[in-house]
C-alpha cells in the first residue's frame, strides 16, 4: 500500500468513526516506517479537518463529531509519545484552556481540543470550574501564546472580565492572547471584557487563533 493510501486510511478512520480500528491502523502506519508527524498531520488531523467541513456543511452533526474526536484522540495517544522526539511536529503555538469559574460543561472543550491539536496547536487542558488563579498559574507554568476560556452559559461568560483582570494584575496579559469559546460567547462582548476574541465554533476558533498568532 502506498504512503498516500495509508494516510487516506487514517483520515478515513476519523471520518468514518472507526473507534476500534484507528489504533491498529496508526500502529501499522508507524510500523511501516511513516514519520509520526506525518501520521498525525496528514492522517488523523486531515480526518478532523474533513469532519469540520462536513459539520459546517450539515453532513455531520454533533453526535458524530464527538465520536470523531474520540477516534482522533485514540490515534493521537499512540503517536504523541513519539512526537516528542520528532523534530517535525510543526507546532504553531501552545494553548492552555479550561472552563471558567462556575462552569463544568465540557462538551465544547471536548470538540475544541482535538480540533486545535489537529490544527497544529499544542493544547493543555487545565480542567473545569477553574479559579482565576488557576489560569494565572497555568500561564506561568506552561508559557502559552493563547489562553482559551471555555464557557457554556451566558452567566459564566460574564466571569471573563474577572479572569482577564487577574491575568493582567499578575503582569501576564501582554504575554498571551485570550480567546473565549462556547455556545454563549459573543466576540464584541468578549473584547469589552478584555479578551481578544471569541468563537462558538471550534474550526472558526482555529482561524481566529491563527490570526491572533499572526500566522494567517
Amino acid at each position: 500500500m502506498s504512503e498516500s493510501d495509508i494516510l487516506r486510511q487514517l483520515s478515513a478512520a476519523v471520518e468514518e468513526l472507526d473507534l476500534s480500528g484507528v489504533v491498529p491502523r496508526v500502529q501499522a502506519a508507524l510500523d511501516g516506517g511513516l514519520a509520526p508527524a506525518k501520521v498525525l498531520t496528514q492522517g488523523l488531523s486531515a480526518g478532523m479537518r474533513e469532519v469540520g467541513k462536513k459539520f459546517n456543511s450539515g453532513e455531520m452533526f454533533m453526535p458524530e463529531v464527538l465520536v470523531a474526536c474520540d477516534v482522533y484522540f485514540a490515534g493521537l495517544a499512540v503517536v504523541r509519545p513519539l512526537l516528542r522526539a520528532d523534530k517535525d511536529d510543526h507546532v504553531l503555538g501552545t494553548v492552555i484552556m479550561g472552563n471558567i469559574h462556575g462552569d463544568v460543561h465540557t462538551v465544547g472543550k471536548q470538540v475544541a481540543m482535538p480540533v486545535f491539536e489537529a490544527s497544529g496547536l499544542r493544547v493543555i487542558d487545565l480542567g473545569e470550574d477553574l479559579t482565576d488563579e488557576a489560569f494565572v498559574e497555568g500561564i506561568r507554568k506552561h508559557h502559552p501564546q493563547i489562553v482559551g476560556l471555555g464557557t457554556y452559559m451566558t452567566s459564566t461568560f460574564m466571569h471573563t472580565k474577572a479572569t482577564v483582570e487577574a491575568i493582567t494584575k499578575a503582569g501576564l496579559r501582554e504575554r498571551v492572547k485570550i480567546i473565549c469559546g462556547g455556545p454563549a460567547v459573543d466576540a464584541e462582548a468578549a473584547r469589552r471584557m478584555g479578551a481578544d476574541d471569541a468563537s462558538d465554533d471550534a474550526w472558526k476558533g482555529v482561524e481566529k487563533i491563527r490570526r491572533l498568532l499572526g500566522v494567517e
Partner: protein
C-alpha cells in the same frame, strides 16, 4: 391558601391599569391560537433574573419557597409581562433521582447571581439504565426538592393566577424525555452513545419516556387540576442530526401527545443551535401551539432577520413563533440594540404567523434591567389592532 399570595392579591387585584384591550392571558392565548391580538405578547423566561431583580440572592431562595414566589409576582407586578414563568432550577427537576446524602455533591452554588451548578448522576449508560429500572426517582422522592420546593411554588403561582381571575397566565415548565436522558448522563456522553450503542440508548430513552409519562399524571392532577393551562415543554435533542432525530426523537412525540391532552396551551422550548429539521418535527406535533426557538444551526450563515423569516415561514399557519432578543444580547447588548432586534423579529414574523417576544432561553441574571425594559417596550410599541 398561601400568605404570600394573599398579600399580593390584596395589593394588586382590581388596582392594575389595563394594557391595551386584552388581558395578559388573552394576549398570549390569542397569539398561540394564531389570532390577532392588540399587541405582540411579551413573555420572557426570566428564571434567575427575576430572583435578582426582586432583591434576593439565589442562595437565599434555594430553601425558601415564599421568597421564590414573591420574586416572580413582584417582577410581574412591576413589569406587567404577559405571563409569569415558574421559577425552575435543575434541582427541582431531578433531585429525586439522588439519595439524600449525596445531593450536596451534585448541586453547587457558585455565586449569588450564578446558575446552580449540576454534576451528572450517572457516568455510564448501564448506570443510567439501572437507575431507571430500579425506579430510583421514586425511592428518593421523599424530602426532595421536586416535593419540597417545585410543587409548593407551582401551587402558589397557580393560586395567584386563579385568584387574579386569570389576568395573567402561569407557565408551567416540564422537561421532555430526551432532555432528561441527556441531562442525567451529560449531553456529550448521551450523544456519543447514540452513535456507539444505539440499541441500548433506545432502551434508556424508553425508560426515560416511561418516567416522564408517569410524571405527566402528577401534572394532570396538581397543575392542570389547579388551573394550569399554559405549559412549556423543555425539549432535548438540540444538536442532533436528522438521522438521530428520525431514530430517537419519537419518545418526545409520545410525550407531547399526552402533554397536549392535559394542557390547552403547550409550546416547545428548543434552545441552542436549531436545525430546521428539528423545528419541522416540532411544528408537526399536534396540539403544540408555539416554538420558543434559538439560533440557527452551525454552518447556516444567516442574519437574524433572515433566520426569523425562515422560521416564521416554517411555522406559518401552524404555530406561534417565540423569540428575541437573544439571551446574549439581553445580557451584553445595549437597550437600543435590544429594541432593534425585537422589532426585526416582529417585522420578519408577523407576515407569516403570530409572534411572541420571548428570548430563546432564560434571561441571564446579569442582564441589565434597562435591557429587559427595552425588550418589553419594543413589544408594547408594536400595536397590531
Amino acid at each position: 391558601m398561601s400568605q404570600i399570595v394573599d398579600e399580593w392579591v390584596g395589593r394588586l387585584k382590581g388596582k392594575l391599569p389595563p394594557i391595551g384591550e386584552m388581558t395578559h392571558w388573552e394576549r398570549l392565548a390569542g397569539a398561540m391560537d394564531l389570532k390577532q391580538t392588540d399587541y405582540v405578547p411579551v413573555a420572557p423566561e426570566l428564571d434567575y433574573w427575576q430572583i435578582t431583580y426582586a432583591g434576593y440572592s439565589h442562595r437565599e431562595i434555594y430553601h425558601d419557597v415564599d421568597k421564590t414566589t414573591d420574586a416572580c409576582i413582584k417582577t410581574w407586578a412591576d413589569l406587567r409581562l404577559d405571563a409569569i414563568w415558574m421559577y425552575v432550577d435543575i434541582s427541582h427537576q431531578i433531585e429525586n433521582f439522588i439519595p439524600a446524602e449525596r445531593r450536596a455533591e451534585h448541586f453547587i452554588h457558585r455565586g449569588e447571581k450564578d446558575y446552580l451548578m449540576f454534576k451528572p448522576i450517572a457516568r455510564t449508560l448501564d448506570e443510567a439504565i439501572e437507575m431507571y429500572e430500579t425506579r430510583a426517582f421514586e425511592k428518593h422522592l421523599d424530602g426532595s426538592r421536586p416535593v419540597t420546593h417545585y410543587t409548593p411554588h407551582m401551587l402558589q403561582l397557580l393560586e395567584f393566577q386563579e385568584r387574579m381571575d386569570r389576568q395573567v397566565p402561569i407557565i408551567v415548565g416540564i422537561a421532555t424525555p430526551t432532555n432528561y436522558a441527556e441531562t442525567i448522563v451529560e449531553v456529550q456522553n448521551f450523544q456519543r452513545w447514540m452513535v456507539t450503542e444505539p440499541e441500548k440508548t433506545q432502551h434508556y430513552l424508553n425508560l426515560c419516556l416511561q418516567e416522564r409519562l408517569e410524571a405527566l399524571e402528577f401534572y394532570r392532577q396538581f397543575a392542570a387540576g389547579n388551573g394550569g393551562t399554559f405549559c412549556c415543554l423543555f425539549g432535548g435533542a438540540r444538536t442532533w442530526g436528522p438521522k438521530h432525530l428520525a431514530r430517537f426523537a419519537g419518545v418526545d412525540r409520545v410525550f407531547a401527545e399526552k402533554a397536549t391532552q392535559i394542557f390547552p396551551y403547550v409550546f416547545w422550548h428548543h434552545c441552542g443551535r436549531n436545525l430546521p429539521r428539528a423545528l419541522e418535527l416540532i411544528r408537526d406535533l399536534p396540539g403544540v401551539k408555539g416554538i420558543q426557538y434559538d439560533m440557527p444551526y452551525y454552518g447556516q450563515d444567516l442574519s437574524w432577520p433572515q433566520w426569523f423569516e425562515q422560521v416564521a415561514r416554517l411555522l406559518g399557519g401552524k404555530q406561534c413563533a417565540m423569540n428575541s432578543p437573544t439571551t446574549q444580547l439581553a445580557c451584553h447588548g445595549r437597550p437600543a440594540e435590544v429594541r432593534r432586534m425585537v422589532r426585526e423579529f416582529i417585522d420578519a414574523t408577523i407576515p407569516h404567523t403570530t409572534a411572541c417576544v420571548m428570548p430563546g432561553c432564560e434571561v441571564d441574571s446579569f442582564s441589565p434591567l434597562e435591557n429587559v425594559k427595552a425588550m418589553i417596550e419594543a413589544g408594547r410599541a408594536c400595536r397590531l389592532t
